[in-house]
């Protein structure tokens, strides 16, 4: 499996995307803190975190006896850079802004 395959496979699962959402909102959380947010066993959450770590989307740092989980945005940035160049980015941003504005109105 290539690095890209690992990233896309990790992102394909809704629970793993939810874990990334949680870390995006506030990272540096422990397994216990993350487990509280999901309807899932500790074992299940740990397994998902492992997949995210192997894909490079989550980095684990030790702080004393605790393992803290951080979102690593670099693989996402690499996906972005692969298909979106600086020129295209402006059009994409404009469209996303338009979508957001229109959806907020309705």
């Amino acid at each position: 499996m290539t690095d890209d395959d690992r990233v896309f496979k990790a992102l394909a699962d809704p629970s793993r995307r939810f874990l990334l959402d949680l870390l995006f909102a506030r990272d540096g959380r422990t397994l216990t803190e993350l487990e509280r947010e999901l309807e899932m066993t500790r074992f299940g959450v740990a397994k998902h975190l492992r997949v995210l770590e192997e894909a490079g989307l989550v980095v684990v740092r030790r702080s004393g006896r605790e393992k803290l989980h951080y979102l690593n945005p670099v693989p996402i940035r690499q996906i972005h850079d692969r298909w979106i160049d600086k020129f295209t980015e402006q059009h994409v941003t404009a469209l996303i802004d338009l979508k957001r504005t229109l959806e907020e109105e309705s």
């Binding site: 990272d27 540096g28 980095v59 740092r61 951080y70 945005p73 940035r77 690499q78 980015e89 941003t93």
Partner: protein, 168 residues
Amino acid sequence: MSDTQVFRIWIKASADRIWTAITDPEWTAKYGYAAPQFYELQKGGRFHSTATEEMKAYSEANGFPLPEVILDGEVLESEPPRRLVQTWRMLMDPTTAAEPFTTLTYDIEESGPGVCRVTITHETPGAPATAAMIRGNTDAGAEGGGGWAWVLSDLKSLLETGKVLASA
């Protein structure tokens, strides 16, 4: 958000080449924000980075002053080619310049034959403007650009292909 941000990338290059690309001003002038970064690689050594001609022209055109030294700090640990710990302060912007020094750590670890895992850990307690800047901005043309994620992607591109992303 916590006061710590972590950025990690795998690069097909030796630890020595990566160390040089991070600490040598001739290399740091080639990727990312392309401002040369100068290190005295010993505990207590000075770190600083100077504005590029492009940055000076931009600030002049937009009518705000730009200091000659745009980043400063002190080397806390230097263990070539594995680990560099330093303080780091951004002086380009008055808001970040007024914030306390932050702590930046580079870890370079061999993760396979010819491949290294590079991890940047940036601790920014009491420095929210600096934290926002290094996190990067997803909006096109926004101030600050892509932060560390973009700098690391660019470093990988340069070391693996000889080209930076902007010229790709």
